[in-house]
């Protein structure tokens, strides 16, 4: 028995403890088990040798050889002996053996991979086959030393079968095992999928068995054919699949929490410019929203909606180091993404996990893989999508007259003038003329490979997204370089990940929203330029000419660098225990520089007369030290994993800013009149005057964390996780927080009572978790009361003096705590074609950090955050994938759908409501409602006649006219006032969904991706809603012409009336559901149609694979909201009440059309 253990080669054990894939050591420890048990464990293994079976059945798909060896050992009682220098146990194989004797089994496995074997007592010794075997050589080529059966029974091989194995896309598949059924004969395909095999004549009607990792096994009757083309279908579902979880990996089958794994396929081929937009719609309840679509802009990311009033940003962990930026990573570098949604999976990240965690793993090279060079590129054009149109100039004159006359004023245009406008035609002052089609391209090259003790991957990427605004080369460029490398030095495993990102952005010198609105609300009486090219202004845009600003008004340039490094070492201290040390971090260095040029317009108006020049510098260093001990043990069917670790994460950022005005008009350099703007300039030891925070901020978190998981027979699973965090953001006594979770799973499908229906229900697991997560996303230093100085507070004797403000501290500040419950199930049915999962969650976050709202403003000062609010957030997620392989066409359907709805349970101390007026309407935080809701009046039709006017309730002192809006008198007191307001809507998306369809037919592939939101309310104001908006808007739009007239009493909009009139005040200065819009939408987000050039053509150019495709993004959007993209929100990802009202002026959504090329050498 001791011998049995000691025959396990040391190298093999090394692999068991060192691999980052849990599956490997899980299975290897299974292999180790018997000896262990016999010696020391309380478990009996009396029947160990009886376990040796005469006949062995083994079904393995796409697993590493070492895992296969283990299984065989377990089933057979033999132990394998070999040298890792000679045998590559990392290679993946599939085995499909039923009731085979050990000799046949070994032959089937080892022959195609050129491994010889010898059975000596209870050991099986593995050696490489002695002679190199050319691919497609026909026979096994093994020497008789190692295949006694073959040697003793040579077969006559005189029929040559030739063929090719291809995948759904008609790409050749290399390394496929091909066996003549019932014989020892076999071969493998070469890199481009070709094979040849000699078989005995009497086997011409035999059956060939094709097996390969990642593909469903196929048995093909030869039927006397000599040329065969075999299509293998991808076998994506695999119980051996692993998912990345916090500080490690887990087999998917054993996951007990809610983790969603997103593969690189979800991103590939899409012309997305950053990862965050790429993730929209790919995972249920991973909610991505945009505030505008300008190149280089960030997005709002929420996992499972809103759980806190504070920062809802999920923790992003890239290659084990937290604090990554989704906008900077090259999407092409991503291998997989795990979305940790519940406490069961996220508690190990403790105090920062309450908003969920996004774990990103980048691509790596593979051991024993020859160098591969891959190129991916996309080139295309972005077309601005502006969905509103101003009415013609002459029409606008007509409407304006009507508005004036309705207001008791004389018309502004005579009929002759209107006719003249009609004859003259429209001017060109419209938003369409400050935008143009803009190019977008990305190129990536990846070189990867590996030897026996190391792997490498080097990638370089380039993205160039031009801005749709006209002007000198506005746009966003990103350069990515990544280097991932692993080395083994004896038992020590070293891993290095380095990446460098440079971002170069250039945009105009003004505010995009203002440019949009200045260009879009001027009536078409006017043009941007006169015939001599001079830039004009007009009475509506009297100050600025947006075209001039874009073309000549200056610029802002950003030049940002990020260096990321992760160095880890792993060492198996003893057999079941390994230690891992990680040092990683990120250096960011951002610089922006901008200039405003002075422009004088005709007849008046001036832009940039401050001739400002600015520099902003930002530098940050994030470091992370981790030390982790991991213990794995398998005892028979019991599997135990314990992981404990300690970590420190420290962050420091420094900023400075210099603003100079009245600089030299040509060069922007200082002159004698130049001033430093002290209200915006600051040094790094000062205060960032834009937000009042210190220019230098330092934070640190010390942590202990751990996980213990137990599983029995891959059927019952239990896990506990914890993290103990101490944060510098809190005072000493409130600094440390403990965040535990527990979870359990049960694979019902493994129970014997399911035996009868296992062919239908292939897998069914229920799982549940409960735990406490934390959130500390608050500004640093808030627990300390402080005085801060600021310049230019006041002046004495014409000389400025500085002032000192007072900022209250809250020494009792501590963590937010989110009690999170999750229950879900995963099921695979219909012969593994359909799998789906469902999760329900219920999260209550208490001690939410929020300012006090219970104190009247007569207190006289603002407050820091207090642990006061409470939010309940519930929802569900559904995911389903269906594979529909066909003879000609393979199709997949995948859909995800989710909902979340939060409720504010407590706001702050006694106060249950916070109302913020945003222009006309209000946004509100109110206990019993979702975190942030719109509030205002509800309309009740129009005043249609005098009787109505006399009887219907209205605002005190208001004068109304027929055609004005009636409001609902909620409390029935006969007058409309503050008490009649309703909660009008919830601006957060609900019923978010994504749908992906793929089809492959011959060399063609098609992918369609639809994404959308089932329910969202948006309150939108401004010129797009109100004709001649206040005094600023000069034109009406085609979507506004359905307004009340006596002959159109049920119009969409009330009667036209000038700003300042009682009618206008009643209709438009009152925040009502007139401004409420349904922002639900479904968007054809991406369509890809590709063609893979047959390998028989490309292989001549030594190209493994070449795929050409056309791709389009944001092609069609279905929504009731027409004049603004329905995705655009005015809120950030915590729906802060500080958001300004949405005035429909955001940078529009571009539509992308382009083509791509993927080539692998």
């Amino acid at each position: 028995m001791k011998n049995a253990m000691h025959t396990i080669p040391l190298r093999l054990r090394f692999y068991a403890f060192s691999g980052i894939y849990a599956v490997s050591f899980l299975l290897l420890t299974v292999l180790n088990l018997p000896a262990q048990v016999a010696n020391a464990s309380p478990f009996k293994a009396a029947n160990f040798y009886q376990a040796k079976e005469n006949k062995i059945s083994l079904q393995i798909k796409n697993e590493k050889l070492q895992a296969i060896l283990e299984k065989i050992e377990k089933k057979s009682g033999y132990a394998f002996v070999y040298s890792n220098d000679e045998i590559n146990t990392e290679q993946k194989l599939s085995v499909n053996a039923k009731d085979k004797n050990i000799g046949d089994l070994l032959r089937e496995i080892f022959t195609p991979i050129h491994i010889g074997y010898e059975i000596v007592k209870d050991k099986i010794i593995l050696k490489p086959a002695k002679t190199a075997v050319p691919l497609a050589a026909g026979s096994s080529g093994l020497t008789s030393d190692f295949i006694p059966e073959a040697a003793t029974a040579p077969m006559k091989t005189d029929t040559l079968i030739e063929g090719r194995v291809v995948d759904e896309n008609k790409n050749g598949v290399g390394n496929v095992n091909i066996k003549l059924k019932g014989s020892t004969l076999g071969t493998t395909t070469n890199a481009t999928g070709y094979f040849s095999l000699r078989i005995p004549d009497d086997q011409r009607n035999g059956v060939l068995v094709f097996s390969s990792i990642g593909y469903a096994l196929r048995e093909v009757p030869i039927d006397g054919q000599k040329k065969l083309v075999i299509q293998m279908n991808a076998e994506s579902k695999d119980l051996g699949e692993v998912v990345i979880v916090g500080y490690g990996t887990q087999r998917k089958v054993s996951v007990t929490g809610a983790v969603d794994n997103i593969g690189k396929k979800a991103i590939e081929g899409r012309p997305v410019t950053n990862l965050s937009t790429a993730l929209q719609g790919v995972s249920p309840n991973l909610i991505i929203q945009q505030r505008n679509f300008e190149p280089g802009q960030g997005v709002n990311i929420n996992i499972r909606g809103l759980g806190t009033l504070g920062d809802n940003t999920p923790l992003v962990v890239i290659d084990g180091i937290s604090g990554g930026d989704l906008n900077l990573i090259n999407p092409n570098d991503i291998e997989s993404i795990s979305i940790l949604k519940d406490a069961g999976t996220a508690a190990i990240y403790g105090s920062r996990a309450a908003n969920g965690v996004i774990l990103i793993t980048t691509k790596k090279g593979r051991k024993n893989e020859k160098p591969t060079v891959a190129y991916n590129g996309i080139y295309g054009v972005q077309t601005p999508h502006i969905s509103y149109k101003p009415v013609h100039a002459w029409e606008n004159a007509y409407y304006k007259n009507e508005s004036l006359v309705n207001s008791g004023l004389s018309p502004a245009f005579t009929p002759e003038q209107i006719l003249e406008l009609k004859n003259r035609g429209d001017g060109d002052w419209r938003v369409d003329n400050i935008v143009h089609d803009a190019g977008q391209q990305s190129h990536n090259i990846t070189i990867s490979g590996g030897g026996p003790t190391g792997t490498y991957l080097l990638s370089a990427g380039f993205l160039d997204q031009q801005n749709n605004f006209i002007g000198p080369n506005y746009g966003y460029k990103r350069y990515n370089i990544r280097f991932n490398q692993s080395n083994e030095i004896g038992k020590l495993k070293l891993n290095t990940i380095l990446s460098y990102v440079k971002v170069e952005g250039k945009d105009h010198s003004y505010a995009s929203g203002t440019l949009m609105v200045d260009a879009s609300r001027v009536p078409l009486y006017y043009s941007f330029q006169d015939s001599a090219g001079n830039y004009l202004t007009n009475p509506v845009s009297a100050q600025f000419n947006p075209k001039a600003i874009l073309e000549k008004g200056g610029y802002r340039k950003s030049n940002d660098d990020e260096i990321f490094g992760n160095f880890s070492a792993e060492y198996p201290v003893i057999k079941d225990l390994k230690l891992r040390g990680v040092f990683g971090g990120t250096v960011r260095s951002n610089h922006s520089f901008g200039r405003r040029m002075q422009l004088n317009f005709i007849p008046g108006g001036v832009y940039g007369d401050d001739r400002e020049v600015f520099d902003n510098n930002f530098k940050s260093l994030f470091t992370n030290i981790q030390l982790i001990a991991e213990y794995n043990k398998t005892i028979q069917k019991h599997y135990i994993q314990v992981l404990v670790g300690g970590a420190n994460e420290s962050y420091k950022q420094e900023k400075n800013a210099l603003y100079q005005t009245l600089t030299d008009s040509a060069l922007g350099i200082p002159t004698s009149s130049t001033k430093i703007d002290a209200t915006r300039s600051f040094n790094s030891n000062g205060t960032d005057l834009s937000d009042g925070n210190p220019a230098t901020i330092e934070t640190s978190i010390n942590s202990l964390f751990g996980r213990a998981s137990y599983s029995y027979n891959d059927r019952y699973f239990a896990e506990v996780d914890f993290r103990y965090d101490g944060s510098s953001k809190f005072a000493k006594s409130n600094r440390w927080g403990f965040f535990p979770s527990a979870s359990a799973g049960w694979r019902i499908s493994e129970e014997s009572f399911m035996d009868g229906i296992r062919s239908v229900v292939n897998n069914l697991k229920i799982r549940s978790s409960y735990g406490m997560l934390g959130n500390q996303n608050v500004n640093a230093y808030q627990y300390q009361t402080a005085f801060y100085n600021y310049p230019n507070a006041y002046g004495f004797n014409n000389t400025v003096v500085s002032g000192a403000g007072y900022r209250l501290g809250n020494p009792s500040l501590t963590w937010e705590k989110a009690a999170t419950f999750n229950i879900g199930f995963d099921a695979t049915v219909l012969n593994r074609r359909l799998d789906f999962s469902f999760d329900y969650f219920d999260k209550t976050t208490s001690d939410i950090l929020y300012g006090r709202r219970d104190v009247p403003q007569l207190f006289g000062a603002g407050f820091p955050d207090y642990n006061v609010a409470k939010v309940k957030n519930r929802g569900w997620e559904l995911r389903a994938n269906y594979n529909w392989p066909g003879k000609l066409i393979n199709q997949t359907f995948s859909v995800n759908l989710a909902d979340n709805l939060n409720e504010l349970l407590a706001l702050t101390y006694g106060a249950s409501e916070q109302v913020e007026t945003k222009e006309e309407f209000e946004i509100v935080r109110k206990v019993g409602q979702p975190i942030t809701v719109y509030q205002g009046y509800k309309r009740d039709g129009y005043f249609q006649n005098l009787d109505d006017i006399n009887k219907a309730p209205r605002f005190a002192n208001s004068t109304v006219t027929a055609g004005d809006i009636k409001f609902k008198d909620r409390n029935g007191d006969g007058v409309i006032d503050d008490k009649d307001k309703y909660i009008l809507g919830n601006p957060f998306p609900r019923y978010t969904f994504g749908f992906t369809y793929t089809a492959a037919i011959k060399g063609f592939d098609l992918q369609i991706f639809i994404q959308g939101v089932g329910k969202r309310d948006a309150m939108i104001r401004g010129e797009q809603v109100e004709p001649f908006h206040v005094g600023y808007g000069g034109t009406m739009y085609t979507h506004q012409t359905d307004y009340w007239t006596p002959s159109n009493p049920n119009a969409k909009y009330p009667r036209l009336a000038e700003n300042g009139t009682a009618s206008n005040k009643n209709n438009f200065r009152t925040g009502s559901d007139l401004y409420l819009f349904n922002a639900a939408y479904a968007r054809l987000k991406n369509v890809q149609l590709g063609y893979t050039i047959p390998a028989r053509i490309t292989s001549k150019a030594h190209i493994q694979k070449a795929r050409l495709y056309v791709t389009g993004q944001n092609l069609i959007t279905l929504s009731k909201l027409q004049f603004l993209d329905p995705e655009i929100t005015e809120f950030d990802n915590n729906e802060s009440l500080g958001a300004g009202a949405n005035s429909a002026r955001a940078y529009f959504m571009p539509i992308f059309y382009g083509f791509g090329l993927d080539v692998t050498f």
């Binding site: 502004a412 202004t537 009475p539 009297a542 507070a793 219970d854």
Partner: protein, 554 residues
């Protein structure tokens, strides 16, 4: 290849490893978590530094008042109209069509109480500093007490009974604060101003570098205004004004500036004239206000006009002969309405064909009458469809010709109390007491009109005890102080608001001749005398502090 392990060894190694791992974890995780910002002081150390005490005081000064309150409060009165709302929807108040949740109410309420808190914190902590001389500290405290009284006065002016905060309050105290009777607030304001006046230096006693600090004269002048607003304390007003007018050795040297326009536009006189008693201090390019961007004619570089003088204000300016335009024999010509008018009209308001002087001394004609301008110069024209003036008038007073600074940002001081107002208060109080005389007239109205540029005896000479002397004084006050934010206070204390703030506010005669004689109807106004003399307590405040209650009618 093969290596022996014994299980005892394994166990030992295991234990050892776990121990050392734990140790290492502790070592690596041991990072200091007590981190302090580098750019700010804690309340323990802050007051010890003299610089910080000065900065805290400067901060209190910076919170005295704002330019937009000065200017846009004109639109609360019959002097002006704001079409875009501005400053938290002032237009809603003037139209009478507002609810108590209108942001303006909470903005003002919060602004004044924020100022009071800064004052109270200062007064309660400044003695932690031991290095500033007591005399200086006492002066500082008096400055702060003046400002605290000023804030309470403003609160009382708008709301009547308000919480009186003589000391810094805690959040819990704020939640149960009660409104002190207006009389109690008044008495506190008066007492504090007395105390400040006693402790503060006169303007002549300050060093030049302290120009702009609150003086004894300012405390007295503010006290006079507070009492004037009471309406029934006129003899006290007279007494204080006489202290300022007659006892300048004691209370500071004050006089009218030689030139009305210079007081608002000349970079030296605006700041250094001893007409200025209390002013918001600005510094060119460094501490500026930029409201003029929405006031000036479009052609001089302004954007959408947002504060337009009314025809009513224009009409208030008398003829150079001293007569009201409506008076018989005034010589007023409706077709040439700006001719022979009070010189302060042109110093304050831009009307059609106004000759605008550019910073470089060149001039341009401002064509406002629709269709009157030469080709290409129509930007300033009145148009219902345009972004120019809503009334047919633009502003000129306070325009800053000194710096062609970006965005009309101006470093000119904004007067809060000037000597002219003291003279007007004196005239009003004397008249109210039935003591108007040629002497008083000559000391006040005549002096102001002389300075304004009147030469006609009809305007300058004491008209005798005419029946409309009250109106003459009120009108003088309106024209002299136009665009200084005073008019709405006057209308409220004179109880004229219910008369002049009901009905249409008008613009120039560019409208339909059949409506209001052709004068543009700019805004229909409602002032409900039963309640609008007091503002509503912001509902968000009353809901957080039920002790506050609400003013009548809201």
């Amino acid at each position: 290849m093969m290596k022996m392990h014994c299980h005892m060894c394994t166990k030992k190694i295991f234990c050892y490893t776990v121990l050392s791992a734990a140790l290492l974890v502790l070592v690596t995780a041991c990072k200091k978590l007590d981190l302090a910002p580098s750019d700010r002081y804690t309340d323990l150390t802050f007051w010890q530094s003299d610089n910080n005490v000065n900065s805290a005081l400067n901060n209190i000064y910076s919170g005295i008042y704002t330019s937009d309150r000065i200017f846009y409060n004109e639109a609360l009165s019959d002097n002006a109209f704001t079409k875009l709302g501005g400053s938290s929807s002032v237009d809603a108040i003037s139209s009478g069509n507002f609810t108590p949740s209108l942001p303006r109410f909470l903005n003002d309420w919060g602004y004044y109480y924020g100022g009071i808190k800064s004052c109270n914190i200062f007064l309660e902590n400044v003695d932690k500093n031991s290095s500033i001389a007591d005399a200086v500290k006492n002066r500082m405290k008096a400055e702060v007490r003046f400002i605290r009284a000023w804030h309470h006065f403003n609160l009382m002016k708008w709301w009547g009974d308000v919480p009186l905060l003589k000391k810094d309050i805690t959040p819990d105290e704020a939640k149960v604060a009660v409104r002190a009777p207006r009389t109690e607030v008044l008495q506190f304001v008066l007492d504090e101003l007395d105390a400040a006046a006693a402790a503060l230096p006169a303007n002549t006693q300050y060093a030049k570098t302290d120009l702009g600090r609150i003086t004894r004269g300012a405390a007295l002048a503010l006290k006079a205004r507070v009492l004037l607003y009471e309406g029934n304390r006129m003899s006290d007003v007279v007494a204080i004004c006489e202290q300022l007018i007659n006892n300048q050795a004691q209370n500071g040297t004050y006089a009218l500036a030689a030139n009305y326009t210079d007081l608002f536009s000349d970079k030296v006189i605006n700041k250094e004239s001893n007409e200025s008693i209390f002013a918001l201090q600005y510094v060119p390019q460094l501490k500026t206000w930029g409201d003029y961007l929405d006031f000036a004619p479009i052609s001089v570089g302004a954007r959408t006009n947002n504060l337009s003088p009314t025809q009513e204000l224009v009409n208030a300016y008398i003829m150079t002969n001293g007569k009201q335009i409506s008076d018989a024999g005034s010589g007023y010509d409706e077709n040439n309405p700006y001719k022979n008018r009070d010189p302060r009209l042109a110093a304050t308001i831009v009307y059609d064909q106004y000759k605008w002087v550019n910073p470089d001394g060149s001039t341009q004609i401002i064509y406002i009458k629709p269709g009157s301008s030469p080709a290409g110069q129509g930007a300033n024209e009145y148009s219902r469809a345009g972004q120019g003036t809503a009334s047919g008038y633009y502003w000129r007073k306070y325009w800053d010709p000194n710096y062609s600074a970006p965005g009309f940002s101006s470093g000119l001081n904004l007067h809060l109390i000037r000597y002219a107002e003291v003279l007007l208060m004196y005239a009003e109080a004397k008249n109210a007491l039935g003591q108007m005389s040629a002497d008083v007239w000559n000391q006040t109205i005549r002096a102001l009109r002389l300075r304004a540029g009147f030469t006609d005896a009809g305007a300058l000479d004491f008209p005798g005890n005419v029946s409309n002397m009250t109106q003459i004084i009120q009108n003088e006050r309106r024209c002299e102080l136009a665009m200084e934010g005073i008019r709405i206070d006057d209308l409220r204390r004179w109880k004229l608001a219910e008369t002049v703030l009901n009905g249409w506010a008008h613009g120039a005669k560019y409208g339909d001749a059949s409506v209001d004689n052709g004068y543009i109807q700019v805004q229909l106004r409602v002032f409900d005398k039963s309640k609008h003399y007091l503002w509503p307590i912001p509902p968000s405040e009353t809901s957080l502090d039920i002790n506050l209650g609400q003013n009548f009618g809201y």
